[in-house]
């Protein structure tokens, strides 16, 4: 009887004990959550996999800004390796500014570029020089 409550601790394998336990708990909880939503669906008389009525995004969400943000972020990170921190930050901060304000006139774009240059320089100076933090 008491053997059930015993766990063998082998030093070379001890790194695998906890992940196994946690994974077990996660699977049990996952099943519970699934059953719960199954029962809820039954009570409300609707199909279990009701993807049509469930919306992940808000109504009329801003597709350009949302996907634009993700794409720009990825490009930004990759470009930092190629162009260095200052140049890529200025370019991408301007792009973010233009994307978020959504205005396409020259005045607004110029404003975006100026803001980006100032911000990049301030961060570069404050972090890189005063605090001696390594920058990309």
């Amino acid at each position: 009887m008491s053997d059930i409550f015993k766990v063998k601790i082998v030093f070379s394998q001890s790194h695998l004990i906890m992940p196994k336990i946690i994974l077990g708990i996660l699977i049990i909880l996952g099943v519970v959550i699934f059953i719960q939503s199954l029962m809820k669906a039954k009570r409300e008389n609707r199909p279990v996999m009701d993807f049509k009525n469930k919306k992940f995004f808000e109504d009329n969400y801003d597709k350009v800004k949302f996907y634009g943000t993700i794409i720009l972020l990825l490009l930004y990170v990759f470009s930092m390796n190629l162009l260095g921190f200052i140049l890529s930050s200025i370019i991408f901060l301007s792009l973010f500014n233009v994307l978020f304000t959504g205005k396409k006139d020259i005045k607004s774009i110029m404003k975006s570029i100026v803001i980006s240059i100032i911000e990049t320089m301030v961060v570069w100076f404050v972090f890189g020089y005063i605090f001696e933090i390594t920058l990309p």
Binding site: S2, F5, K6, V7, K8, I9, F11, S12, S14, H15, L16, I17, M18, P19, I22, L23, I25, L26, L29, G30, V32, I33, Q36, F56, F57, E58, Y61, D62, K65, F66, G68, T69, I70, L73, L74, Y76, V77, M80, N81, S89, L93, F96, N97, F100, T101, G102, I115, S116, E119, T120, V123, F127, I130, F131, E132, I133, T134, L135, P136
Partner: protein, 473 residues
């Protein structure tokens, strides 16, 4: 003994001002402010960064009252109830009065919780010092259950997200035998130490918010300027607080207590304080139409949270809310163990924390109370111009985690998307984060307990303190 000098005062002021701005902008929270500025702790020593971070915390919680009163949109979740009575007052032309009452109540709540923090933490810590590995394991388990139980929505999802956090934290090398686990071959170098805390934090709390805002199109909150510029019908005076003392103490206690409970969060605290205020009020029908009582209750309770949430952090090493969960990062980054021994081992830091909290509350009061008419301008700061700067700060912050490693920047983006998806499908992010922070400790204490008992699981059920904690679970 406390550490205090000119630089500390300057940094605290900066923290409070930035905190108020973050708090006052709907969608940006105190947690986000602390997460973004956390990397600066690399540059400063711990005490200086504590002044900054506590300033951000206090400012961020307090700033939420500005838009709540002026446009009836809470700037932070914890000021949901402030608008119930604050906004009707502003519409009556008592905007300045409402703001000042709110600010003064915030100060009271902050100081009240500070006193509780100072008195209560050493006692709790002294009690927790007797804990062995078994009890430590159980107390973490207990904290996670409480967090999950009190988290919004579905409890099972809360527990699930906590354990998911633990699971993610286990990725990498186990310190006991230096063996790698759960890491695909190709990433074996990049993920040797698992995911770093800082990029995970910033991703979960700042980047996910960025994605949510961009989904909504970065719309600017529109504010009608006239609210504060019109002739004020009623002036503020400290006499307004006559008869509010009991209300203030009650609400602050509720806020502080809710802060001590792990994972409850500010909105629950102010809602509870508001409903209690209604129950005890002599004129419950007046609440919601611009009664001072409601405003006082809401604001003193949400600032009561600040000190309360630090109690479990500094005595047990368990964060009380999402902001303190981020704050624990500052200690970890500086290599200081927060837990029962914290106060006795770092008396200077402990005194400094108390003093910094007092200072930040006072600064918050002076910064907001006198230039009250200009506060409305904060809401006008265009988000479309602010978010790019935040992106820059986040990336620099993540990058500096291990002195320049692109893996951390990628981690930042991954966890930004995870945080965004979690909030969409209703999995609480705070629970995940707390699981992630405490995961490694949980494992260590579990293995240590088993080693001590020779692998006998009954060890968890036989020790007296352990049994008490089981009872609580």
């Amino acid at each position: 003994m406390i550490d205090f000098g000119f630089i500390h005062l300057a940094v605290a002021t900066l923290g409070v001002v930035i905190g108020i701005i973050f708090g006052a902008l709907p969608g940006m929270t105190a947690t986000m402010a602390v997460a973004i500025f956390l990397p600066l702790t690399y540059a400063y020593d711990l005490t200086t960064s504590l002044y900054l971070l506590l300033g951000l915390y206090v400012g961020g919680i307090s700033g939420g009252l500005v838009p709540a009163i002026l446009i009836n949109i809470p700037g932070t979740p914890s000021s949901v109830t402030t608008g119930f009575d604050g906004h009707p007052m502003a519409k009556r032309g008592e905007g300045v009065r409402a703001l000042r009452i709110g600010i003064t109540s915030s100060l009271f709540g902050g100081i009240f919780s500070l006193i509780v923090l100072a008195l209560f933490t050493p006692i709790l810590a002294g009690w927790a010092i007797k804990f062995g590995a078994v009890e430590k394991f159980l107390i973490i388990l207990f904290a996670m259950t409480v967090i999950a139980a009190l988290s919004k929505g579905n409890m099972t999802k809360g527990i699930f997200s906590g354990f998911l956090g633990v699971f993610i934290s286990l990725i990498g090398v186990f310190n006991d035998n230096q063996k790698l686990r759960m890491v695909p071959e190709i990433f074996s170098m990049d993920l040797r130490d698992g995911f770093q805390l800082l990029p995970v934090l910033i991703g979960l709390f700042a980047f996910s918010q960025l994605l949510e805002e961009s989904e909504l199109g970065m719309k600017q909150t529109i504010i009608n300027n006239n609210v504060l510029e019109d002739k004020q019908t009623k002036k503020f005076s400290f006499k307004d607080f006559k008869g509010q003392i009991i209300n203030m103490i009650r609400s602050s206690s509720i806020g502080t207590f809710m802060g001590i409970l792990p994972g409850v969060g500010g909105s629950a605290a102010s809602l509870l304080a508001y409903s209690q205020c209604k129950t005890w009020s002599k004129h419950p029908e007046k609440l919601g139409t611009g009664a001072i009582e409601g405003l006082v209750a809401s604001e003193s309770s949400n600032n009561g949270l600040t000190g309360g949430a630090l109690v479990p952090l500094l005595s047990l090493g368990i964060p009380g809310d999402s902001t303190t969960a981020v704050l624990i990062g500052a200690f970890i980054l500086q290599g200081i163990q927060v837990g029962p021994l914290f106060i006795s081992q770092n008396p200077v830091t402990w005194n400094t924390i108390l003093f910094a909290l007092l200072l930040c509350n006072l600064l918050m009061f002076f910064i907001m109370f006198y230039p009250v008419k200009y506060l409305a301008n904060i809401i006008k700061i265009p988000k479309a111009r602010l978010y790019p700067a935040i992106i820059l700060l986040c990336i620099v912050g993540a990058f500096s985690t291990r002195n320049g490693n692109m893996v951390d920047v990628v981690t930042l983006i991954i966890f930004g998307i995870i945080g965004y998806v979690f909030s969409k499908i209703g999995i609480p992010v705070t629970t995940f984060l707390i699981g992630f922070i405490l995961g490694r400790d949980l494992e260590k204490y579990f293995i240590d307990s088993l080693k001590g008992s020779g692998g006998d699981l009954s060890i968890f059920f036989t020790r007296p303190i352990g049994l008490v904690i089981w009872g609580l679970i």
